[in-house]
């Protein structure tokens, strides 16, 4: 059993600091405001008038970033709870609650993002009553709704703890195992299924990404993305909230990140080899492919895995985690957007409003996380 002291040791300065108005916060408010304006315009004038989506590109920036990247980068919640409870690596417990909070914030953003992207968003609940069990997207929508509920219950427990509602906390604790297992199962299902959605259109995609292994690849890269965000959040968040991060603990999580990246890399290479894909060429897709595979998977894996000096330093760790998170985003963009270049005579580049909404969501996520992190017992012991 870890004691309270051990659990709290990830952050040596207890207590929270006042929020203040640091420059990054002002920037975030600015983007939040422009995002809100663009979002309002989308509802007033419609998708066609505000986005550059078209019949050739029915999915754009919002699906690639707000949904696909968002879900992948929010994978830290279930990954950490698997690490702590299934693999029994109790030393990572101090990171569990921040990971769950960031996952919750991430999923709320995904659902809100979908609200802007769907043509008929007020029907978001339709998949609950109108079933199509053959559809991968049907499964994904169920999993995302259920998992967001699980995360909400986790966060609710923290809120009740902060308010010292002992009775309610005890009730929620009694279903804790169920929540942990449900979180892992639901995440495994939809993280991989998001990739499986693209199994239906191999003929439209570049062969570099159109593979039957899309499901498992999305899963392993999401784990890497989730871990990267947990590390980044701990390092950057600690600075914003004037705490000292436990670099030693984070660097051993960095080893886990390196492992996830290595597995992803090995799977990618095996898959490309098995499908005999011509990988050496210098056109656009191949450059993106090199950047993704070598620059954002192999490079951080090597740096974290084989250079302890990089892994153990704050700066090295920040850069490697940042690079990996960027790589997961790039992979999602490649699978869902760039891979379709030239399959027909339509073009797509996001509109100003699309960018504004996405930037608004990023800002909202950061502000919401920071707001909650200052108020919730993130560093209290979890059972």
């Amino acid at each position: 059993m870890a004691t309270v002291e051990q659990v709290g040791s990830a952050f040596t300065e207890p207590g929270s600091s006042p929020a203040g108005t640091s420059p990054w916060r002002l920037v975030a408010y600015y983007f939040l405001a422009t995002g809100a304006i663009a979002g309002a315009a989308r509802f007033v004038f419609g998708l066609g008038a505000t986005t550059n989506l078209n019949d050739g590109y029915p999915w754009g920036l919002w699906i690639s970033f707000d949904v696909l990247t968002g879900v992948a980068l929010a994978a830290g919640g279930f990954t950490l709870s698997a690490i702590v409870y299934v693999f029994d690596l109790k030393e990572f417990r101090p990171l569990l609650r921040p990971a769950k909070l960031s996952a919750f914030v991430g999923y709320v953003m995904v659902v809100l993002g979908l609200f802007f992207d769907l043509g008929l968003p007020w029907r978001l609940w339709h998949p609950l009553v109108m079933w199509n069990p053959r559809s991968v997207l049907f499964e994904v929508s169920w999993c995302v709704m259920l998992y967001t509920t699980v995360l909400a219950l986790d966060v609710l427990t923290m809120i009740l703890e902060a308010r010292e509602e002992e009775r309610w906390v005890r009730i929620l604790r009694s279903i804790y195992v169920a929540l942990v297992v449900a979180g892992i199962v639901l995440s495994t299902m939809h993280q991989s299924s998001l990739g499986a959605m693209y199994l239906l259109m191999p003929e439209k995609m570049s062969t570099l990404w159109a593979t039957p292994a899309l499901g498992p690849l999305f899963y392993s890269s999401a784990i890497a993305g989730g871990l990267a965000v947990v590390i980044l959040e701990a390092l950057l968040g600690a600075r914003a909230r004037r705490r000292t991060p436990d670099v030693e603990l984070l660097s051993s999580l960095g080893k886990g990140l390196a492992a996830a990246l290595l597995v992803t890399f090995a799977m990618r290479v095996t898959d490309l080899y098995a499908r005999r894909v011509p990988v050496w060429s210098f056109d656009g897709p191949h450059l993106l492919f090199y950047l993704e595979l070598f620059g954002t998977v192999a490079l951080p894996a090597a740096l974290l895995g084989f250079f302890p000096a990089v892994r153990q330093g704050r700066i090295g760790l920040t850069w490697c985690a940042g690079l990996s998170a960027f790589g997961v985003a790039l992979n999602r963009f490649n699978v869902s957007l760039t891979s379709y270049a030239g399959y027909r005579d339509f073009r797509y580049f996001p509109s100003v409003a699309e960018f504004a909404v996405t930037l608004g969501f990023i800002s909202l996520a950061i502000l919401a996380f920071d707001f909650a992190a200052r108020r919730l017992p993130l560093h209290a012991p979890t059972p």
Partner: protein
């Protein structure tokens, strides 16, 4: 009892009456058109154009040019990818042939548009309450025992409506009777698991080069949507395995910790 349409492009004269009939039956708005470099008009299928005749030039023997007129519309696949993709079952293949869309179910996710191997579902981008639009094989007319509007109007007998197996037999009969004008394939017979639209052409589809314009020749003979079904059939087992494994390990770990604690106390 599944209906189909035989589209004999060698008989098509490119008059576009089918386009007009389709517009008027479906009450689709007219729009200003412009010349295109090929003569095909309008430029793309969209939410208010469900069918369109592609005007194609291809080299004919003796240095001449041969025109092919190839009508495009929903292919009404036997196993439609859109129906496998749609999360709410808004798209459905009727036993009688048509692939229909239910306005009241759709959530507007547009996955069907991405999944369709023939690039058929289109979106009402400029509407504030947008729906997906595509040819529905005149399911409403068929229910009244009428032919689809385009078939009814075609002056060149290029379009024929009927039972799928009978039309297939007819297609093969035409190919055999006069092998000269026909390429030896029926596009749609087995393409992507088979479609209700069956095409006869003078030039093989491969040579027409319509890959980017809705007639792919690399789709194989299995329905695209089977990838979706195959994945989904594995999901429950993965969920069960992951669930059992994590529950088991969780309890095992918990027990180990309790035992260790007691041992420490006992010492």
């Amino acid at each position: 009892m599944t209906k189909a349409m035989l589209i004999d492009t060698t008989r098509c004269i490119g008059c576009r009456s089918c386009q007009v009939a389709c517009k008027s039956w479906n009450e689709l708005p007219a729009e200003k058109t412009a010349f295109s470099e090929t003569g095909s008009n309008p430029r793309h299928l969209d939410a208010s154009n469900f069918t369109r005749v592609l005007f194609l030039e291809s080299p004919a023997p003796g240095g001449a040019v041969r025109w092919s007129f190839v009508k495009r519309q929903c292919m009404h696949c036997l196993e439609p990818a859109c129906a496998s993709a749609c999360p709410v079952g808004a798209l459905e293949k009727l036993a009688t042939g048509p692939v229909v869309y239910r306005d009241d179910r759709c959530i507007g996710c547009r996955y069907c548009m991405l999944a369709c191997p023939f690039q058929i579902p289109k979106y009402q981008w400029s509407a504030r309450v947008p729906y997906v639009r595509k040819c529905d094989f005149c399911a409403d007319r068929q229910a009244l025992a009428k032919k689809p509007a385009c078939v009814e109007t075609c002056p060149g007998e290029a379009l024929r409506f009927g039972e799928r197996d009978q039309l297939l037999a007819e297609a093969h009969r035409r190919m055999k009777a006069s092998p000269g004008p026909y390429a030896p394939e029926v596009y749609g017979e087995r393409t992507a698991g088979g479609t209700s639209m069956l095409y006869l052409t003078a030039v093989p589809f491969q040579a027409l080069g319509l890959h980017h314009r809705g007639f792919r020749t690399d789709l194989g003979e299995t329905a695209v949507g089977q990838a979706s079904q195959a994945w989904m059939s594995g999901v429950p087992w993965v969920a069960l395995a992951v669930g059992a494994l994590s529950t088991g390990l969780y309890h095992l770990n918990q027990r180990r910790h309790r035992v260790k604690e007691q041992e420490e106390k006992g010492d």
